[in-house]
Each structure stands twice: as C-alpha cells, then as structure tokens.
Symmetry: C2
Subunit: 456 residues, 2 copies
C-alpha cells in the first residue's frame, strides 16, 4: 500500500506517529514560511503543514488544487486555539517531511466548491464526482443497493441475472435496438423491464425472484428520466396482494433504517385509486404534513386501479397496466367486465410513484376474456404475446410482482431534485454522455458488418 | 399466502397438522384405489396420497407431470417399511383432502429426468430450469453473487453502476452498437468491459470500486463464451500488485467457503509467465494433482507478463494487455523497453484463466514512452484514447485493478462443462435466444426512427 492510513483514520491516537498519506489537494494556503495543504479522500480531510516551504519549492509549484499527492510526516497536535472542531481530524495536523506528486491538476474547468452548470459538471464528471455532495450520493446509492439485496437474500429470494440482449416487444415505450451481425436484418432489443423474464423465472419454479435490473427506454427525457435506469425487480409465486405489499413494506423499512437510520412506520396507508383521485386529485398523493420537508418520508399504497381505461381515440378499452394484470372478480373467476378493478398497486413516496405492480393472470380462461374485452383477436394475441401465453400453459403458478424505480428512491433518500445527481455517469437531457462524447460515429466497416446503411 | 409451508418445511414435526402445499407434479403413481403424487418445489419434495382416487377423478385426469397444483391435507407418518431415507420428508406423507389445479401441463417436449438435446432445453428453458441440476446451479450462482459482494462491501468497496449505453472503442473485440434516434447517424456501444469507467471511478476518488458488471462482445461463440457475460470488476487506488493480489485471494477464499464450504489455501502459488510457458507449456497451467477431479480447486497467479509482443504481421510491437499497463521499471521510471515486463497478473483456476488485470499507468511520461514503442503517434493516441489520457491529467491517483469472469468461476464451482449451464437465459452457440426467438425482425418504422435502412 502506498499509504499507511486513509484520511478518515488519522486522529489524535496517531499523535507522534509517522504516517504516509495519499489524497487530493482540497485547499492550499501560504502563511509566512509555512504552507498548509488540506488533503482529502473519501474518508476525510487532514491538514498537512510544511513548516519551511523553501525546502519544497520545486515540488510546491505543482501542488495545485485537486492534484493527487502523497505526503509523509509526523502527526502532531495542533497549536492551542487552532483546533478545528468541524473536522474529525481537527485537533491534529501532519508535519510534512516528504511530498510526492502523483499527478498535478491543471486549472479547474469549474469551481468545485459551488454549484456549477450541469453540462460542465457532466463533461468533467470525474472531477464533479470528487465533490462532497457527489461522493455522499454515490456512496449512499451503494449502501442502498446493499441494503435492498441483503433484505431479499435474508428472505430467501434468488437473484437472477436476465438478458440485456433481448427481444423487441410491441407494447410499451420505444425500444433501443441492437443489430445482429450473425443474423442479417435481425435485431436484439434492450429490455424496457425484465417483465417477461421475471414471469418466466416463476414458471421455472424460482418462487422468489429479485434483481437490481438495468432497464432501457428510448423516450424523450425529463428531469427524472434516463435512457437507462435501475429497477428493484421482484416477482413471487403462491402469493396474494397482501403478501407482496407486506414484503415490500418490510424491505423499505429495512433499507431506510440501514441507509438513513430513519424509522419508517409500517403498514403504510392504503388508498383506493378512486379515493386518491377524489380526495387528492392525483394517483400519487403527497401525504407529507409539510410538503417542503425532504426529510419527511410519507409512503402510501394506491390500490384498486381500474383494469381497463377507455381510449376515445382508438374507440376501445385498453389495459391500465398491461394485459396480464389479474382482474378483481366475484365468486366466479370470470365475474369481471369493462368496469372491473385490477389486482394492481402502486407504491407512492412523497407524491412520487416509486413502484408499481400487479398479480398476474395465470389462468387461460381469464386471459381470453381480457383479450375479448380488449378486442385483441386470438391471432393478434398469439403474435404479440404468444411466447408468454405458451409458457404460462406449462404448469405456471399463481404469481405477482412489483418493480421500484431504484434511481427515484435513492433520489428521494438523498433529497435531490434530479436523478442525475445520484447516478455516477448519467446522460444529459439530450440523452448524451458529455464526458465520453456518446453517442458517436462508427466506422463504415462497423455498419456494414451489421448489414445496415444510413437511411434518409 | 396460498400455502402454509414450502416443501422444505414439511417433516415429522408437522405430523397430525393440516397443511396447504403448492408445487409441481414430479411424479404420479396409481396403486389400487390410491394415487401418489410427488409434489416438488425448489425447497424439497413431499409425497401426497389420495386414498380413494374415485373421489378426485374429475381433477386427477388433469394432474399431469409438471402441472402446478395445490393440495390441502393432513401430515401423517408413512406406514412402517415404506419410509424413504433418501428424502428429507421421507418419513411422512400428506393425506390429500382437497386438490386445486393452478395450471395443468401438456405433454413435455423433453424428458426432464434425463439429459436432453441442448437446443430443446434452451427453447423450453422455463421447464429446463425446473430440473434439480438447473435449480441448484442458478441458486449457487445467486449465492456466489451474494458472497462476492458481501466480501467487497465488508472491505469498504463502493458499488458503482456504470453505463450500458456507452461509447464504441477501437481496441479489443467487436462492439455491439445501438443506433441513436435523437442523434441521427450516431451510435452507442455496449461496453466490452467497464475499463474506462472503472479507471474514471478512481480518478473521481472512489478508491475501491466493485461492480458485478454486464459486458458484451460480438465474437464468434464457443462453449465458454456468450455475447453477454458478467464480470467481477474491481479497481483500487494507492495500491501495489501485492495489495491487489492479497485482496483477491481473500475474496476467493471467502466465496468458496461461503458457497461450497471449501477451504481454499492462500496465498496462491505465483508463477512467472516465462516459467509457465517453459514448465507447463501454457500461460494458464492446471495445477490439480488429479486433473480429472472437478472438486479439486487449484488456484495460481501468473505474473510478470511481457509488456509488449512483436507482431510479425504489422511489423511493430503491440501491448500484451492494453497500452495503459504499467511497465516494470528500474530505479528510474523510464527504465523500460521493448523487452520489459508488465505489472500484470492473471488468476488461474484448474487450467482456466478466471481473471486478469494490471497496475495502470498514471504518469504521462511513462505513457508517452509506451506509445513511442507502440509507434502510436500523438495524434493517433489522442484520437483513440484522448478522453482517458485527458482525464488522467486531472490529478489521477496510482491505481490498478482486475476483472474475473464470473460465469467461468461459477461454472467451475458447479463442475459444469459449459457456462450455459450456469446462466438462467443464455444464448445458444449461434448467439440466438431460442426461447424468445431473438434476435428478431423489427418494423420499418423502428428502423426509420433510428435513421437506418438495410444494406446489401
């Protein structure tokens, strides 16, 4: 190791000890013959002191802000009255005996101590990520990933990685497509969600499926959307709505406790869709007492969504969620119609829909009646959904699931206004990666290899 | 919950109790007036008994192999002499009072109790995944994911999700490219590895990066390759080769203990590249005492790879790994040449290279000399690697890393011959998903939207 301690480990206990420290120059200050370099890493900050700067003059001119350096020296108590109670290492400083510059840093493209233009921050994301805020956000995200997965593993869920090179589906948003080289004129599609695969995992008997799933939608962007995003993706067999809701409430409680040390009260309030619209004029009501308080976390469930919505344009009923959503029925399983409600639920936090799901149809008679109401012919159903309908016939269990927008959840946890603040390397609002310069041109050879040319 | 217990929970302690059980029909056997249905889920198997099958005749004709059913009944001891010591629930059976069929199963496309043609298994993967072997393999994979991540989290690593929609790079294997709709004639590329991003995470100060990273290579396939695969992706700052090797040895020891209860001895043997070639005629030697024993795990490191290889075709030196690999130098950092060795290392298990990495160059003078030897001009270097070279100038720390082929590691842990056996939904040898039918055709509209047409 090039260092003896990280900067979070340097404190009064080390007084008198020699240390080797590495980090970035957070500030540099000259005072008479002395130079103070505040060294920073993701664990903390430590003041280092050069008592006689003339001895280091050759090196010091390259010690610029954000340079990465190593110092060796002795830890000593700060002179009385010069302690800094705001710093964990505020009672000590390191008397520098040796300094090594790993990489100097040219003048910064933006001031890292103040809010800067987002496009500039994204272009130099490797610098922007060094700021206290971004370090905190990315580490919070990492801790949330850990907490969510730990919860599900402890409950006996199986993590299954589903394909990214998947199949284009006619429903939903626009797919990103990937031309195949080996199979001319054919394409993979990046998954909008692993919906199909998670249902297949249940047909395959895995019973409790979890994945922090990467999903892709080629939509026009807005502040809380990205071309790619991460979903807490869950599917369970042999359960009813209450079982799923209970498990998800415990997952959120566990995660908020572990990551933020916040106690979330469960069970959450449940509001029917009708009541939400009537009383709050929204299907994602904000139940905070103080709607300006980002540290208040008000969860609720919105349940009993209508199974169908009437489309005036198409003059037919459409599924509110998707055509595999289980209807609420009477005593007989076929007791449902255009006006029925669905076994579908949304999870809402502070006025944002953070998750949604449903119990799926596993019964072919119910499925047929749903297609009848949707005016989807057998041939059309087979073409659009044939694969899943076929798989469901091979001894499919009753099952249901939910997906949470993980980025959105972390954004609210971090109290940020945009999901770009909690993603390490996001695209900007124009779906560009400003740092990499992506998307970019490819060679004619690359295009030819996948049997394509530019259209007009 | 539709069930009172999963099938792993049903044992002698429940004798006399009423239970509700769900699962799949593993076998069905008629004997006089009785019918025995062996019920299966991922936790176990339980024998259920219908004493008078005439009472269930209507239902029973639909209880076929692999149907998904629910039975209610009382747990009782099996008659003396009829116990099955091979089953965890072999001392009991459930006397069925009620049976519900969630989904019957048509005749099976292959016999799930014997080895079947792989393409048939892949087409009906949702059935194939129900077999004991595939259940075991997928759960083992999930446990390995958990163990690896737990190790790194416990060591203070930060998990960072890097983009899948990234940039085409001219080095390495063939990229999968994704046309942009918003930016005509421009493309994203799926990452062959997050190499660039993991180095950026270190420049950004994250110090210890981990990701179970999805990677993509459009290569011609063979038994141990897939178009997409998962990499244990690691990068660390302020470290030397020994620090990285030590951390990885402890990670592998932890994972093999947790998942297989196997004690791996560390440190592993280290062999120089020269010695490996001389003594074993391979850069990935198999050090097992018995090379036919899949339960013996013989790890080693191969170190001191040559920095460059001479390409007779191109009449110039090329990087053995990549042009950012740190040379082994003399006292002076520029003491290296065409014949020098690299600070690069491979991890080998049972004759398979399971991981490889290097310490990276963070010093621009060393980097320039490497480009000189490679006969890469400044203009060319800027065009090919400009972005990374630029980022490295902004106070980059000394750093290095490694990537393990997670699929390969799990394959060896599971004792399988092909990585397809440890991937839930793999492509076949022709890069096709036989279950989904992907890649597939897309509509003219979809192609137009991304400004492309078919070439000739």
């Amino acid at each position: 190791m090039l260092r003896s301690h990280n900067l979070g480990e340097v404190n009064e206990k080390l007084v008198g000890k020699k240390v080797k420290l590495c980090g970035w120059v957070d500030s540099i200050r000259h005072f008479k013959q002395m130079t103070f370099i505040l060294l920073r890493d993701r664990y903390g900050k430590v003041q280092t002191v050069i008592s006689d700067k003339s001895k280091f003059s050759k090196n010091l001119k390259n010690v610029t802000l954000e340079s990465c350096i190593k110092v060796e020296g002795k830890v000593k108590k700060r002179p009385k009255g010069l302690e800094n109670p705001k710093m964990a290492s505020g009672n000590i400083e390191v008397e520098v005996s040796k300094i090594e510059i790993f990489n100097s840093c040219p003048s910064l493209p933006f001031d890292m101590k103040v809010d800067s233009l987002e496009d500039m921050r994204l272009k130099y994301r490797f610098l922007d990520l060094r700021t206290d805020k971004m370090q905190k956000n990315i580490i919070l995200r990492s801790e949330a990933l850990k907490a969510v997965r730990d919860f599900f593993y402890n409950e006996g869920f199986v993590e299954i990685e589903t394909p990214i090179l998947a199949k284009s589906t006619p429903e939903g948003a626009r797919d990103y497509i990937v031309p195949s080289r080996v199979h001319p004129n054919k394409f993979f599609a990046l998954p909008q969600s692993p919906q199909l695969f998670k249902q297949l995992s249940q047909i395959a008997g895995f019973d409790k499926y979890i994945q922090m799933a990467r999903c892709f939608r080629d939509e026009d962007l807005r502040s809380d959307r990205q071309p790619e995003f991460t979903q807490i993706d869950v599917e369970m067999s042999f359960i009813e709505q209450d079982d799923l809701i209970d498990t998800m409430e415990r997952m959120l409680k566990y995660t908020f406790k572990k990551v933020l040390n916040v106690d979330v009260k469960i069970p959450f309030k449940r509001i029917t869709y009708e009541e939400a619209i009537e009383k709050y004029n929204s299907d994602a009501p904000d139940l905070r007492k103080d709607k300006t308080n980002p540290k208040e976390f008000a969860f609720c469930w919105v349940v009993d969504f209508p199974l169908f919505e009437y489309s005036k344009e198409e003059k037919r009923y459409k599924s509110t969620h998707h055509p595999f959503t289980m209807p609420q029925t009477g005593k007989n399983k076929l007791d449902f119609n255009e006006k029925s409600k669905a076994v579908a639920y949304d999870c809402v936090l502070n006025g944002s829909e953070i998750g949604g799901g449903s119990i799926r149809i596993h019964d072919s008679e119910i499925q047929e009646k749903v297609f009848d109401i949707l005016k989807i012919s057998k041939a059309e159903a087979k073409k659009k959904f044939g694969f899943l309908l076929n798989a469901l016939k091979y001894g499919a269990p009753p099952h249901g699931g939910i997906a949470f927008g993980f980025d959105r959840v972390v954004q609210i946890m971090a109290g940020e206004d945009s999901i770009r603040e909690i993603i390490a390397f996001p695209k900007n609002k124009e779906a560009k990666d400003l740092m990499l310069g992506a998307p970019s041109e490819v060679s004619d050879k690359q295009l030819k290899e996948v049997h394509l040319k530019f259209g007009k």
